[in-house]
């Protein structure tokens, strides 16, 4: 490998002026000009010379697409020179006055502690030219570059071998020697500390700029898609007040959603594999998350792998195995219109695992108590209730945590989940033995028949366990469903007044259509249900009556 340096290109005027600008800006960068300078520093002349430096690769330690490590040797003994011009304040009282006013009193005009020095603090500026030439450099440089961390440059030795300083004060030997020494010292500092620092910062800027915008763009695009879909869904759902939901439409939406969220996920590790620093992209996501709570908009952006605060009440954050499957943010339960038994069983299995974990956590791992669980077997003449083993998956079963307050008084309530999983279907077939000991309302689908399921999750209040608010996670009361369900067999109200529930998004709000009705029950249960569903959007209400014989 070899390098071909065309040193002549440095002689180009555009580069020169660019360098001049950079130098000018950096020399006059600080807001507070030192009091001794009466004017800014101006680059009067900048010449890169004709002789190019020698460049030697000593070692390349690490070479990959995103990182690089190498040791180089640079030798320069050329004729480059630079001339600076500035004005120096020669009135000591002026310096004194400016120092005090600017640095000590912070320019505050109200302090008049200083005596009036107006007539002796006039400006006397002496123009000074400073020329640096005959620069001789010999340095061994270690360069480490990593895409995530930027460029690090270290000088192994003292790079500066010689520099000649000539100024307006050359005739005064004392000042000349002083200047020579000071400038040599400063340039050594520059090579050792300032230059690596500046390069590092500059490369950081470059790396960050290169990496983050594309991530941001991706994210923005996906969000935009989601948003559009949600809008479309809402409109379709609300216009069809008698929501015989067209499966196609929903499916399309689902697909769209999936497509939208299929954009490559960004994790913190992608952006910064080593450090815990938050990148702009992550900050954007966090800000989206937080701003999603500040909006009155009824659809909230769904953010992958995030659980809204309101949902933390349901789930422990660290148990995100469930949240992987259930998109808790929008209460978008996976029971879609396409009834897929395998899928559902997978979900249910996860729910059960999750609940078991929670139970174990709340009772302590060593507790011998097995969780009491009610298991409902479908497609059997008689339903049985039995305790299941913790980890045993059950197909076509719904496991419902049956943790009453009485049983768990000494447990941490925060980890207890008490969900009422209601799956509406008409006519409802209530199993015989289900609801004897529980306060939980349970109604389950009797058959495997595919049906649009309106799934409601209701969180009943336990002790001081706060009711999670839905406002953050889903549509706020787009429809309120008040239903009265009467079962003759159990003679029990399945919905009382407390069961006024906030509905999930209208997308999933569906009255069961006639064709999807399940076959009549084999039991002789009679049930009827009256449902009044006023919609807040359309100010219309639906009254539905259903009878199960």
């Amino acid at each position: 490998m070899s390098f071909n340096i065309t040193w002549d290109s440095f002689e180009k005027d555009s580069l020169k002026s660019w360098c001049k600008q950079i130098l000018h800006d950096s020399l006059n960068n600080s807001n507070k000009r030192p009091s001794i300078l009466a004017s800014n520093i101006i680059i009067q002349d900048l010449n890169f010379g004709k002789i190019s430096p020698n460049f030697e690769i000593l070692e390349i330690g690490d070479l990959a697409s995103d990182r690089f490590r190498g040791i180089f040797k640079i030798k320069y003994n050329g004729d480059a020179h630079i001339t600076l011009f500035t004005n120096i304040q020669a009135n000591p009282i002026n310096i004194y006055w400016k120092n005090t006013v600017n640095n000590l009193l912070n320019n505050n005009p109200e302090f008049n502690i200083l005596p009036e020095l107006g007539s002796i603090s006039q400006n006397l500026s002496i123009p000074v030219n400073l020329k640096l030439s005959k620069i001789k450099i010999s340095a061994i440089i270690v360069i480490v570059f990593s895409k995530s961390k930027g460029l690090t440059l270290v000088f192994k030795n003292d790079p500066l071998e010689n520099i000649e300083v000539s100024s307006t004060f050359d005739t005064v030997p004392a000042i000349r020697n002083f200047l020579q020494k000071q400038i040599e010292k400063k340039i050594r500092d520059l090579f050792r500390e300032i230059l690596p620092g500046v390069l590092y910062q500059y490369s950081q800027k470059y790396v960050a700029n290169q990496l983050h915008p594309q991530l941001l763009n991706q994210k923005r695009q996906s969000k935009f898609n989601n948003y559009n879909n949600n809008i479309a869904a809402t409109t379709t759902a609300t216009t069809n007040t008698i929501t015989i939901t067209n499966n196609n439409n929903n499916n399309e939406n689902e697909n769209d959603n999936e497509n939208g969220s299929e954009v490559k996920k960004i994790t913190i590790a992608d952006i910064n594999p080593d450090g815990p620093d938050l990148s702009p992209a992550n900050m954007l996501r966090l800000s989206t998350l937080s701003s999603s709570r500040q909006t009155l908009s009824l659809d909230v952006f769904k953010i992958d792998d995030f659980v809204q605060r309101s949902s933390i009440e349901f789930f422990n954050l660290y148990d995100n195995q469930l949240t992987q499957y259930l998109n808790i943010n929008s209460l978008n339960l996976p029971f879609s219109q396409d009834y897929d038994s395998n899928k559902i069983s997978k979900y249910l299995n996860n729910i059960s695992n999750f609940q078991i974990n929670n139970y174990k956590k709340s009772n302590g791992n060593n507790s011998n108590q097995k969780p009491r669980r009610r298991v409902i077997h479908i497609n059997k003449k008689k339903n049985k209730t039995k305790n299941k083993d913790k980890n045993k998956p059950i197909e076509n079963d719904i496991l419902i945590s049956n943790q009453n307050n009485q049983n768990n008084q000494n447990t941490n309530n925060n980890n207890i989940i008490n969900n009422n999983l209601n799956i509406h279907q008409e006519p409802k077939i209530q199993p015989n033995n289900t609801s004897n000991n529980t306060s939980n309302n349970t109604s389950i689908p009797e058959s495997k028949a595919p049906s649009p399921l309106a799934v409601f999750i209701q969180n009943s209040k336990q002790d001081d366990h706060p009711i999670p608010t839905y406002e953050e996670s889903t549509l706020i009361g787009s429809e309120i469903s008040s239903a009265y369900n009467y079962d003759t067999k159990s003679e029990r109200d399945y919905y009382d007044e407390k069961a006024l529930i906030k509905s999930p998004p209208p997308l999933y709000h569906s009255q069961p259509s006639r064709r999807n009705q399940s076959p009549p029950s084999r039991n002789n249960h009679r049930s009827f249900e009256i449902r009044i569903r006023p919609s807040l959007y359309t100010y219309s209400s639906v009254l539905s009556l259903s009878l199960g014989v």
Partner: protein
């Protein structure tokens, strides 16, 4: 608070204008006036004749407030509220520099009234928050012409947690001396001021008139003519000092810790126009250490306008600067009516000299001048002006400072703006580099370099070939501020 301390000075017969720093104040208040910074509100009240307090709120850098208290051992009866105060008293403006004999007269009046409280004292404290910065001021008058003034500023940001400045001032009619010590870099200063001229001009004149009357009463003799002749000469000699004042001063500074010396000396000449009574002041300041010369000329052209010009020159660096400033007063209503009213009520009208000695034209001339001067001053200090506009510009800095002060309802407001590069100048990049004074080089270079990035070919021409490509500097606001104050 500044106003209250000025009132204190005037009620203890202390003439601040007789001190060295005020020797150039006539031009300073017109050219180098202080501009307000940021937004500031303050409410002050004189709750008792001895006690005043003030609350301030400003947004300098960040929002901060201040709370200040003032105690004076003598009653401050001459403090007016912002409703009743005359604008020319509340705001620093061109000051009439009084001839010595008049000052002497005033001093005599004052000492009679002040005699009851021999050693007046003033204490003033101001607390800035946040930051807990405390500013204090202590004034104690030991005798009729000796005063100790201590200024303190306490803040943990400062070196040694604070600065203290002590002034020991001696202010006699003919001269003033000051010894100053500041703990900041141990700065020691000495200031002197000497007023030329006779203090007892008027008394001498009266004696002479009496003498002349005596002479008239006595029989005509040969010596009368001689005496008249002598008096005439005397008068013409005195006329030179009549209503003018010539002062000379010097100051010497040395910072012990930073070893920085400072030295300056000044001359001031003030006189009044004979027919209109309008004052004019000329000053010349010289700083021999850095070779700086400043001359200024200030004239009050009419009741509501004053103009000032200042010329700076440095003999070492050949830097020069011309500054111009003016103040314009606005009076709501018919000014001539008001002037007549004031003239009618003026006390001088009663004491107008009677022209008994018609043959003494010199005397008549003098009284005519004196009346003009006192009338002009009287009218100005009693007119209820409503607004004041101060403008100043400097050719070298190319800036325009504008200060607009006035009364709005019962409030005093102050609005200041400073515009940099007020005069758009066309100058060459290379020229500006060689010129010794290049305040604008920065901006010019910036503009040039900024254009470089967009158009490289153009700029290379500009920089390298030093052709006539030039850039205009653009005006920009350097400082802006608005103060609002109310006092009762």
């Amino acid at each position: 608070m500044e106003y209250v301390t000025r009132c204190f000075d005037s009620s203890v017969a202390w003439d601040e204008d007789n001190l060295y720093p005020s020797i150039t104040s006539s031009s300073d208040v017109l050219i180098d006036f202080k501009l307000p910074q940021g937004l500031k509100f303050s409410i002050s009240s004189l709750s008792s004749p001895n006690f005043a307090n003030s609350l301030g709120l400003s947004n300098f850098n960040y929002i901060n407030g201040s709370l200040s208290y003032l105690y004076s051992s003598i009653d401050l009866h001459n403090v007016a509220s912002s409703k009743g105060v005359l604008l020319q008293d509340a705001i620093q403006n061109y000051k009439f520099i009084q001839p010595l004999h008049q000052l002497n007269k005033q001093l005599a009046d004052h000492t009679a009234s002040v005699a009851s409280n021999r050693n007046p004292m003033l204490l003033y404290g101001k607390l800035y928050f946040p930051g807990n910065i405390l500013e204090t001021l202590f004034i104690k008058k030991f005798s009729s012409n000796t005063k100790l003034l201590v200024k303190c500023l306490s803040s943990k940001n400062l070196k040694n947690n604070g600065i203290m400045t002590l002034y020991l001032q001696q202010n006699a009619l003919k001269y003033s001396r000051e010894l100053i010590y500041s703990t900041n870099e141990s700065l020691i200063g000495l200031r002197f001021l000497y007023n030329f001229g006779s203090t007892y001009f008027k008394d001498a004149n009266q004696k002479r008139i009496q003498k002349r009357i005596q002479n008239q009463n006595t029989a005509f003799n040969n010596s009368e003519l001689l005496i008249n002749e002598f008096n005439h000469l005397n008068d013409s000699h005195n006329k030179f000092y009549n209503h003018s004042k010539f002062s000379m001063g010097a100051e010497l500074w040395y910072g012990i810790l930073n070893m920085s010396p400072g030295l300056s000396s000044s001359l001031r000449y003030t006189t009044y126009s004979t027919y209109t009574g309008k004052p004019l002041t000329m000053t010349l300041t010289c700083n021999p250490i850095i070779g700086h010369l400043t001359s200024s000329y200030t004239v009050k052209t009419s009741l509501n306008s004053t103009f000032s010009s200042k010329f700076d020159f440095n003999v070492y660096s050949y830097e020069s600067n011309l500054s111009l400033g003016c103040e314009l007063w606005k009076y709501d209503g018919n000014i001539s009516n008001e002037v007549d009213k004031i003239l009618l009520n003026s006390p001088d009208k009663n004491s107008q000299p009677t022209y008994t000695n018609t043959f003494d034209s010199n005397n008549e001339y003098k009284s005519f001048t004196e009346r003009n001067i006192s009338n002009f001053k009287n009218v100005f200090s009693n007119l209820k002006f409503s607004q004041l506009l101060k403008l100043s510009t400097s050719l070298n800095d190319r800036n325009l400072n504008l200060l607009y002060e006035g009364k709005f309802k019962d409030f005093l407001f102050e609005f200041g703006i400073s515009i940099k590069n007020f005069i758009p100048c066309k100058s060459n990049y290379s020229n500006s580099l060689t010129s010794p004074v290049n305040n604008n080089v920065l901006t010019q270079a910036n503009i040039l370099l900024k254009s470089n990035t967009s158009d490289t070919t153009n700029t290379t021409n500009t920089i390298n070939t030093n052709t006539n490509n030039s850039a205009f500097t653009l005006p920009e606001i350097a400082q802006i501020g608005f103060h609002f104050q109310y006092s009762s």
